[in-house]
Subunit: 219 residues, 2 copies
Amino acid sequence: MKEYVSILKKTKLFAGVGEEEISAMLSCLSARMQIYKKGDYVLRQGTHLSDITILVAGALHIQKDDYWGNRSILGHIGVGEIFGEAYVAPESGVLINDVVAIEDSAVIFFDVKKIITTCPSACQFHTRVVQNMFFTISEKNKKLVQKLDHMSKRSTREKLLSYLSEEAQKQNSSTFTIPFNRQQLADFLSIDRSAMSNELSKMRKEGLLDFEKNCFRLL
Amino acid sequence: MKEYVSILKKTKLFAGVGEEEISAMLSCLSARMQIYKKGDYVLRQGTHLSDITILVAGALHIQKDDYWGNRSILGHIGVGEIFGEAYVAPESGVLINDVVAIEDSAVIFFDVKKIITTCPSACQFHTRVVQNMFFTISEKNKKLVQKLDHMSKRSTREKLLSYLSEEAQKQNSSTFTIPFNRQQLADFLSIDRSAMSNELSKMRKEGLLDFEKNCFRLL
DNA sequence: ACAATACCGTTGTATTTACAACAGAATGGA
DNA sequence: TCCATTCTGTTGTAAATACAACGGTATTGT
């Protein structure tokens, strides 16, 4: 786990906390790490989770497959992001999505109860981490609201533009890359892949945008 | 504000805290209350918010209207529920939705920073409230994930069944009422009202469910 | 009590989307 | 390098949805 402390230091969860304090807290909070190969399930729908988790290497998708194999992707988790935050409350029930490694990945699990019930004055930086976690979950919340905003659009084109605009804004550039291939983007926006490809082509013809692979530019 | 302490006592945010402690905390946290008439805007898209808010009377909708007057409803807030939790983080930006009173309502605003930065040992129950708020935001998070689950369904029928099933489960009964009229339900699920009415009728004919006004029964 | 308004279901038509199939390009492994 | 696999854009058709319009029924306010 030691090798990832420098990664943790850069995350929002540990913002303002030094590497040594992080190391100390890892044992104090009885954190455990797990390695996954591309394609492995990190968490499975229907199971319980009482940990908060943070990705320190690789990338994950939070997704769900129905009976007919139709997949819908709830979100993409990059290095430094947390997940499982919707299930920290007691009686929050079971997971309603799978979490899958789309690259070789490493995940650290923290016992949530230890984080929030241990007296914050125990470690000097504990208070800070509690605050950070608070804000992180709130940000996550906003992300979900934004995704709902895309999904509430009625047409394929509107959904695409809504999502791409947000990415451009988030990456602070009209040229940006997205963490999805075509099928994944379609599954993320809950639209048909071929219809989406079609719409992208039309928009390119109309001069609204340009793209190559997963790199896009809004015009 | 005094008259709503008994309401606050029943909320998840103040679970485990007595009425007297709540009264004490209200001033300690410099809470302020605001009254709204049906139809009033509680919060407006594009503005900043650094408070966490709790509804103590009435009902609210979190919604958004586009240029053409098409409305989409993100969520319904009932008495005891919090809102604005997605914007407590510093630099979380401006609101992307309006919050509107759909009945005469009363809202209490708390300064988030005071809640989480004041030393939790100051008031005996402060720690408890911080934990409660933590869990409440997490639950809110789960709610959003569930709504995304409905919205990711491809057809009108699937969206309806997904939503109605969740309501039945939440209210622990196959007979239940929903807090929306038809137009609002359509705006909530991002589908066409007439198509929805049509689909509901079909499902009733098929014996899948029954309904009258906003009272439904799954069969 | 009555008028005005809002709500709900229904229908028909135009538009959009889903689905299936395919070919060329890119990618990855042996 | 070559073969198998995946990824992407395109097309045509079937199916679903959006939109507009309408009448009947509640609801509201005066």
